[in-house]
């Protein structure tokens, strides 16, 4: 579903932020990108979700090139990142209606969908409060609901459990597993090991813009002869990270 081939990215005149990255995410698979801050995860995800254009290489989603068929791709992906914020003065209700209109969801379907997803995440009691009055966790849940408003086939979540308590994280993770069961492809970036370990079928370790190793959590642990996945990550990181 997501095919990334030798992708590199350079902003204006700076050095390469993402260097020659390739991977594949199949249907019904959860793929994790794991790396420290500044490794290039967000840039990579923004490229996959058509917000940025790769300097080199190609990205295909459901067979379509992100450089050319942007609009068609945006219709089939749901993208969530911490950089995208919700209008602080709107209410969840208004936002849902607004994005429903933008995604051209049939008018009679909007209230039905809204009720279903708001109840699932426990947003209903807050549906008429302004975003600025809500907690971080609630905001994140609303973001998730809105990014999945159009039932996308490909889901790209940048740090979805960032700033959430254990209960809410659990809720989000369960939901992702549910989506996986429905045959959706999920690309997930995180720096939390437990999330990566529990959720992902395959994990790519990203250090300084390059994928240094790839495989399931167990595979990586075995490959690096570590006690657990966390240690495996540190070994890989110290091996490949160049100072300065």
């Amino acid at each position: 579903m997501i095919q990334v081939d030798h992708v590199s990215k350079r902003y204006n005149k700076s050095a390469l932020v993402v260097k020659d990255v390739s991977f594949h995410v199949g249907q019904g698979q959860i793929f994790g990108l794991l790396g420290p801050n500044g490794a290039g995860k967000t840039t990579l995800m923004q490229m996959i979700s058509t917000l940025l254009k790769p300097t080199e290489g190609t990205i295909r989603i459901t067979g379509l090139d992100t450089k050319t068929s942007t609009q068609a791709i945006r219709r089939s992906i749901g993208f969530l990142t911490t950089e995208i914020k919700l209008d602080p003065l709107s209410t969840p209700n208004q936002l849902f209606d607004f994005f429903g209109e933008l995604y051209d969801i049939p008018r009679e379907m909007i209230p039905v969908k809204k009720k279903e997803s708001f109840e699932r995440f426990g947003i209903s009691p807050f549906a008429d409060k302004r975003i600025m009055e809500l907690s971080t966790g609630m905001k994140q849940k609303i973001s998730i609901v809105i990014s999945l408003i159009h039932d996308p086939h490909v889901i790209i979540f940048d740090e979805p459990t960032n700033g959430l308590d254990i209960l809410t994280s659990r809720q989000v993770m369960d939901y992702l597993l549910e989506l996986k069961a429905l045959g959706r492809s999920v690309l997930l970036s995180t720096h939390i090991f437990s999330v990566a370990e529990q959720l992902c079928d395959e994990i790519a370790i990203l250090v300084d813009g390059t994928i240094v190793d790839q495989g399931s959590a167990e595979e990586l642990t075995q490959k690096t002869e570590s006690k657990n996945f966390e240690e495996a990550f540190f070994k890989l990181y110290t091996k490949y990270h160049k100072e300065g």
Binding site: Y11, T43, T50, R74, E83, I84, L89, F98, L102, S147
Partner: protein, 762 residues
């Protein structure tokens, strides 16, 4: 796509975030000020119109001021039939005597009272000059007329050009036996021109051609700025724009949706303003106005959307838009002037809109230019929207770029370092407990401190001068003074005129209203300084040299410190006067205060109190601690003293010695204030110093002659300017230097004694 556009349009009508920025507040204030100015202009026209309520059928008389003998003879002989000659009404020559030949106020009143349509003013010594026979040019004769009598324009011109210029000239030539030419012939209007009926027309035309277009422009510009900047730049600032970009909408749809929203916003003021237009304009005019304002709103909306796309925050977008806003306003102003109307302008956007709206109001629509202008505007609108759409494809305008290039990083580090350097509060010297909170750049710091007193004084002094100036115009002295300006032919004349102006200003020192207004003005300046310190700096008043002193303080309560200052000041200035007497520079002519100048004397006292305090607050209270905190105390004393000294450079008789003396006095006050920790005492010293010079001993105060003085003093024959200071007063002479040197000595000794006492106690 239609649903999406509708949703985007609705979104622009959501809560507006851009109203709270400073740029929008400044723009709003500009707009309000602008409209008020134009309305004030119009209402002044209307006031003139309303004043004209005299009946049209009135006797037409001529006022002749200072008629010379030749004129009386001339009029007896040739103007005896004058009564029948003017407009078939009874007309008379009314003779008056008046010294001030430029006093338009008096002449206007006379003409109003006597139903005169012309005033002829002869110089007082007209006959003497003419009959001396040695001139080749007649002295000037001035004529004044109220120009709102257009029905008498012909009569007036006939009278001036035939009777006065030819017949009377010939008569004078015969009398004197010398052929000569007229000098300049002045024909001065005392009121703007027009008549009863035409005023209404003028006011309607001006309001149609100036106010209505301007209101449309300001309304559309302001509303577009608020909503346009909020639409895309605001979304970027709040981080919600990316979620919009992630939807399957094309960039074009996003631009279009926001554009329509902003346009609909602009239609709100437009619709409101169209309501009064309906009552003024005819159908065709209304149609043209409607088309023009719609195209204008589209164009401005497109510009704001383009700027919004290019910027990533509301403030930066508004700041970008502000120059465009001002340029358009300037274009509006040029459109208000008839002289800029050329055949091409009505076809151009903005120009064409302004003229077109005015034409529509007046019912003189030129459809050709209106249509060309609208088409041009629509084309520009399309270009703006196209560019906006292209801009949204560029990554740098849509997604926040995380990684910065090396150059950007270096720049950011530099900016941070500068910020830290500028904002760290390091005080080099602490005066009156002041510590700087923020560092400005060196130049703006010094210029701000040196120019603030000048700016404030130059703001209120001319205002205080207005009543004095009006009464001066009515006095005979003004005649000579104004005629000086006409004779400026060389540089040396300019300096003469300058000296004369200074003298005129000094003359105002005898005017009650001037003294009163000055006093009030000084209080105002004090209030401004208190405002600066309390509201802007948010510092206590003690940093202005006004700490709260109680009786437990070693110096006693504030009033005691003030009274001590009065005593010390009296001692200082008395020693100067004594020295002047002893060296034989001046003689005391005894008691001179007259009973009718007691009022002025009291006003003087009331003026000197805030005057002394103001100068002390400016230089010692405000400037010294602030300069000291950055450059140290010695420089602060030097700088404030030089500023104080140079502030008097425009006074009469200013010399190098005066500069040095004033700097010495200022330095003494500065050191005294610094040592005492407040400025109560120096305020009183300053007040009493000036008061005694001007109103006790009758000397000049820094070049200003004293009046209403208790004693009167005059310079002796052997007085030298070096010792006595000449026209500048004692402050320009060596006597003050000597006394100030002695005062420094006493101050030094007192400090030394204080120190030794302290060490003895320890």
């Amino acid at each position: 796509m239609r649903r999406a556009i509708r949703a985007l349009v609705r979104k622009t009508f959501g809560k507006n975030h851009s109203m709270k920025t400073q740029a929008s507040v400044i723009t709003l204030l500009c707009c309000v000020g602008f409209v008020i100015a134009v309305l004030a202009y119009l209402s002044s026209l209307a006031l003139y119109w309303m004043r004209r309520e005299r009946p049209v059928n009135y006797a037409e008389n001529i006022i002749v001021v200072n008629p010379p003998e030749t004129w009386r003879k001339f009029s007896d002989r040739f103007l005896s039939d004058y009564q029948e000659s003017v407009a078939g009404e009874k007309g008379m020559l009314i003779y008056r005597e008046w010294d001030a030949v430029y006093d338009i106020f008096t002449f206007d009143t006379w003409m109003e009272e006597n139903d005169a349509f012309l005033t002829i003013v002869f110089p007082e010594d007209f006959d003497e000059i003419v009959l001396e026979k040695e001139i080749d040019e007649l002295p000037e004769i001035l004529t004044y007329f109220p120009s709102d009598h257009p029905e008498y324009a012909t009569t007036r011109n006939d009278f001036c050009e035939t009777t006065l210029s030819i017949d009377y000239l010939r008569y004078v030539q015969i009398m004197s036996g010398v052929p000569f030419e007229w000098g300049d012939f002045y024909n001065t209007s005392t009121r703007p021109s027009g008549n009863w009926a035409s005023w209404g027309k003028i006011v309607k035309e001006r309001s149609s051609r100036m106010v209505m277009p301007l209101l449309f422009f300001i309304g559309i510009l302001y509303v577009c700025m608020l909503s346009g900047m909020n639409a895309i730049a605001g979304e970027k600032e709040r981080g919600t724009f990316s979620s919009l970009l992630m939807t399957p909408l094309s960039r074009g749809t996003i631009v279009l949706g926001n554009f329509i929203g902003v346009f609909l916003h602009a239609m709100i003021p437009t619709c409101v303003l169209l309501v009064p237009t309906v009552f003024f304009a005819r159908a065709s005019g209304l149609l043209s106005i409607l088309l023009l304002v719609i195209s204008l709103s589209l164009f401005i909306a497109a510009i704001t959307i383009l700027i919004s796309c290019l910027n990533s925050s509301i403030v930066s977008a508004q700041t970008t838009f502000l120059p465009i806003f001002l340029i358009i306003l300037v274009v509006c102003v040029t459109c208000m002037q008839d002289s800029t109307k050329n055949p091409i302008n009505p076809f151009l956007p903005i120009y064409g809109h302004f003229y077109g709206i005015g034409d529509g109001m007046m019912g003189t629509v030129a459809w050709g230019s209106v249509l060309v202008c609208i088409l041009g505007t629509l084309l520009l609108t399309g270009i703006c929207l196209f560019v906006s759409e292209r801009v949204l494809h560029k990554e740098q305008f849509t997604v926040a770029v995380e990684t910065k290039s090396e150059k950007q990083l270096r720049k950011a580090a530099k900016a941070l370092a500068k910020q830290q350097r500028d904002y760290v509060s390091v005080s080099r010297a602490k005066v009156f407990g002041y510590t700087s909170q923020r560092r400005k750049s060196l130049l703006s710091f010094l210029v701000g401190h040196a120019l603030l007193p000048l700016a404030l004084l130059s703001l209120f002094q001319p205002v205080a001068m207005i009543p004095a100036l009006v009464s001066y115009m009515k006095s005979p002295e003004s005649t000579k003074f104004i005629s000086m300006f006409k004779d400026i032919t060389s540089v040396s004349r300019i300096s003469e005129v300058f000296d004369a102006s200074v003298k005129v200003f000094s003359g105002f020192m005898q005017d009650k209203y001037f003294i009163l207004c000055m006093g009030l003005g000084y209080w105002l300046v004090i209030a401004i300084y208190i405002g600066i310190v309390r509201l802007r700096e948010k510092n206590p008043l003690s940093t202005l040299g006004f700490p709260r002193l109680t009786s437990s303080d070693p110096q006693g309560p504030a009033w005691k410190a003030y009274v001590r200052g009065l005593g010390l000041g009296l001692i200082l200035i008395s020693s100067v006067y004594l020295l002047l007497l002893l060296t034989g520079q001046v003689t005391c002519d005894g008691f001179s205060l007259e009973t009718d100048s007691i009022g002025l004397f009291i006003l003087y006292i009331l003026m000197w109190i805030p005057q002394g305090a103001t100068e002390e607050i400016m230089m010692r209270g405000y400037m010294m601690p602030r300069v000291a905190s950055r450059f140290g105390l010695p420089f602060a004393i030097f700088f404030s003293s030089m500023c104080f000294s140079l502030m008097h450079a425009f006074n009469a008789g200013f010399s190098i010695l005066a500069l040095i003396n004033l700097a010495l006095i200022a330095t003494f006050f500065a050191v005294f204030a610094y040592k005492s920790g407040h400025i109560y005492t120096v305020c009183a010293m300053h007040t009493v110093w000036n008061f005694c010079q001007g109103n006790l001993f009758g000397l000049e105060v820094s070049g200003n002659p004293g009046s209403a003085s208790i004693l009167s003093s005059s310079a002796t024959d052997r007085a030298s300017d070096i010792l006595s200071g000449g026209a500048f007063g004692p402050e320009g002479g060596l006597c003050v230097t000597i006394v100030m040197a002695a005062a420094f000595g006493v101050l030094f000794l007192a400090e030394k004694r204080k120190k030794s006492k302290k060490s003895a106690n320890v």
